[in-house]
């Protein structure tokens, strides 16, 4: 088995002097995405990334469509730069397409000529190949808009033919945008916020606050599964599981119940503030969406924000829940997020949380807490777990315990 793909990247093409750096990173990320599937050759070719892999087309496409920076990709057939070879290949591909979709009634050939040394223009190539397809399949009608079958021919170092284009995630290559901590609760929003930031090239270090026994081991497992999905796109991650039980307990004992969620969020920020320099992170990402819950009013957001000097990025601040859900479904985190295990945000939620807090009253409410000592102890008891996305054999099957 083997397959060849042509990957299109959008925005990187617009980069100036740094373009090479973005492209080299993209090539490395593509190599890593398919590395465990078999031997693969990845190289730049006339404004595209060319991938030749020993893997099957479907498993390879499944990996490639998740590489940040890729706008779309096509499984291609490549032939020598002569019209006869191109025409033969085009007819074969049309035949395969008709076999799998017998309802195809119209077609179009679209040629792009990046290598102008090829003697025919794009239009001439399209019309020659189109004529040959029509002769072979007289029932197919040429149609310029929305044809059932679109055969694309790209004239580069060789001719690359494809009949399908798979959308990629877009964005910029992972690793080109610095590092950020991403708060992951186990809910629907936070993985989407992390994913959107990772798509812009940032390296994500997920942080989860674990409050056993108020939350279960299974909720931690759920967060690990969410991180595995993110790692499918962004490559291996280091998840920090923060010991939050004692902080949760102290808040419960010493803070008035209407302000507990705010104080809890502020404690999370303080922990991130300390963790960030240790892992080289420059920002904190949260899944907050304005007005969604009491702690997500602008008043609450500003009180929470005051606990850290780091920029807090909120990619979902203007998104509606339905949009977030749709995105989570597309990414593949939604089914995991709706598993029933409770995260620490939904436990201890007071009946009437304050929606219009002031910094002053929250700081007064925190006076009974030794924040520095709590953060120290919490970090000392936290663990860092390496998450590497899909696993060939689930680890639980191998453990001897």
């Amino acid at each position: 088995m083997s397959a060849t793909f042509l990957l299109r990247y959008g925005e990187i093409a617009l980069k100036g002097q740094n373009q090479r750096y973005f492209l080299d990173t993209l090539v490395r990320n593509v190599e890593r995405a398919v590395a465990d599937l078999g031997r693969a050759e990845v190289r730049l070719a006339f404004g595209r990334v060319l991938v030749r892999t020993d893997a099957g087309a479907d498993p390879a496409a499944e990996r490639l469509r998740k590489v940040f920076g890729v706008v779309s990709l096509s499984h291609v057939r490549d032939v020598d730069l002569n019209l006869g070879a191109i025409t033969t290949a085009a007819i074969e591909m049309a035949e395969e397409a008709i076999e799998s979709r017998p309802d195809i009634a119209s077609f179009k050939v679209d040629t792009r000529r990046a290598d102008k040394r090829f003697p025919l223009t794009s239009m001439e190539t399209s019309s020659q190949v189109g004529g040959a397809i029509h002769t072979r399949f007289p029932h197919l009608r040429a149609k310029m808009r929305k044809p059932d079958l679109l055969a694309r021919i790209e004239i580069r170092d060789r001719a690359y033919l494809s009949t399908e284009s798979i959308p990629g995630p877009g964005g910029l290559p992972s690793g080109t945008g610095g590092r950020a901590l991403a708060l992951i609760s186990g809910g629907i929003d936070s993985p989407v916020a992390a994913w959107l930031t990772a798509r812009r090239g940032a390296v994500i270090t997920p942080v989860h606050f674990h409050s056993f026994p108020f939350t279960s081991e299974r909720s931690k497992e759920k967060v690990m599964d969410l991180c595995r999905v993110l790692a499918d796109y962004a490559g291996p991650l280091e998840l920090w599981v923060i010991y939050f039980t004692d902080i949760q307990r102290m808040i419960q004992l010493r803070v008035p119940d209407a302000l507990r969620v705010l104080v809890m969020r502020r404690m999370m920020m303080r922990i991130c503030d300390r963790l960030a320099p240790r892992v080289g992170a420059l920002a904190i990402i949260t899944g907050e969406s304005l007005g969604q819950v009491a702690s997500q009013t602008l008043e609450s957001v500003s009180v929470i924000n005051a606990a850290t000097a780091l920029p807090v990025l909120r990619p979902l601040i203007g998104a509606d829940k339905t949009e977030i859900v749709a995105r989570a479904e597309a990414i593949g985190t939604y089914e995991i997020s709706i598993r029933p295990y409770e995260d620490c945000c939904s436990l201890f939620v007071p009946a009437h949380p304050r929606t219009l807090p002031t910094l002053d009253e929250v700081q007064r409410a925190e006076q009974g807490l030794d924040a520095v000592a709590l953060v120290d102890e919490s970090l000392a008891r936290s663990e860092c777990i390496r998450i590497s996305g899909r696993e060939a054999v689930p680890s639980a099957m191998n453990s001897s315990a």
């Binding site: 026994p213 108020f214 029933p340 436990l347």
Partner: protein, 385 residues
Amino acid sequence: MKREIYLDNAATTKPHPAVVEAITRALTANFGNPSSLHRKGLDAERVVRAAREAVALTLEVTPEEIVFTSGGTESNTLAIRGVAGVTKGRHIVTDKIEHSSVLTPIRRLAGEGFEVTELPVDAAGRVSPEQVGNALRPDTALVSVMAINNEIGTIQPIEEIGRTIKRHRAAGGAAVFHVDAVQAWGKIPLRPRAWGVDLMSVSAHKVHGPKGSGALCVRKGVRLAPLLGGGDQEQGIRPGTENVPGIAGLGAAAQLIGRDFDEAIRRMAELRDRLRTALAVVPDVRINTPAQGAAPHILNASFPGVRGETLLHRLEMDGIYTSTGSACHSHRVEPSHVLLAIGLNPDLATSSLRLGLSRFTTEDEIEIVEAAVISAVAELRALVR
């Protein structure tokens, strides 16, 4: 390593070394197919035969009346759908606190044209034989009542219900009596023949056997429609190459049941009573397991103000494994249907804890658990007030 106390034996039990050995032998030495004509086949057939005899002995039935299955759920489904597939009747009687592996197949039959009567239970979780009698109709095909409730441990009056059904049959009725004894096997004496029980389900993993192995005891003369199609194994009622390792494990577990049965259940009951007395001092506690007529191995109690799930995880930190009477469905806690049926309000139902003892539970363990539950409840209540 920290000491672990496993007190979730109503969910599953730790396989006994004798069980592990029997399974290993079936996987190594006696790996043949019982249907094969050669000696390897015969060796495997002997394993299956010995297990069948061991299971039959615990129920005082003949080995021919034992059909091996993949466990409690299959046994219950085979009993219910098996009867529905051959009966001329259109009516089924059961009760509200059956296990989901009984309620679900019966409710599916309700969607296929059967009429179903789900009897209520009293505050102790008991089904009344009189109500069963009143529910019986000439077209009643099946009565299904569990021997011991898996959540609160209530023992049902199976013998009396059996008598009621016998009288009904003497008067021309045709109802078949099925008893889900998954939680009862090894915990109370089971006498299906004497009690007039036609079908009885048991499972290996509740009695220190392996998961994925169980049996349905089918009284001679009772006809069942098979769920699967295939060979003539298990008299054609349950075709498919026998799960010889699972059956060997089931057989070894059955032998374990017979070993000092009276002594084992007396000790479990004593420890359960001790727990009951100790936990009764917790303020506002409600013990959901009835004081009389309850299984020796289950104690269910509600601790208002504490969520059962949180209490479970707090005990887990002390190395104590228990279970709750509720399942958490996406940020909403759904209380158990059993606890609601015996009259608990949703708050009490979601604050329940189930402790499940085994014949190997020790007094030392119970002493530790008593103290741990009392202090965990106090600690958690301090947090939510």
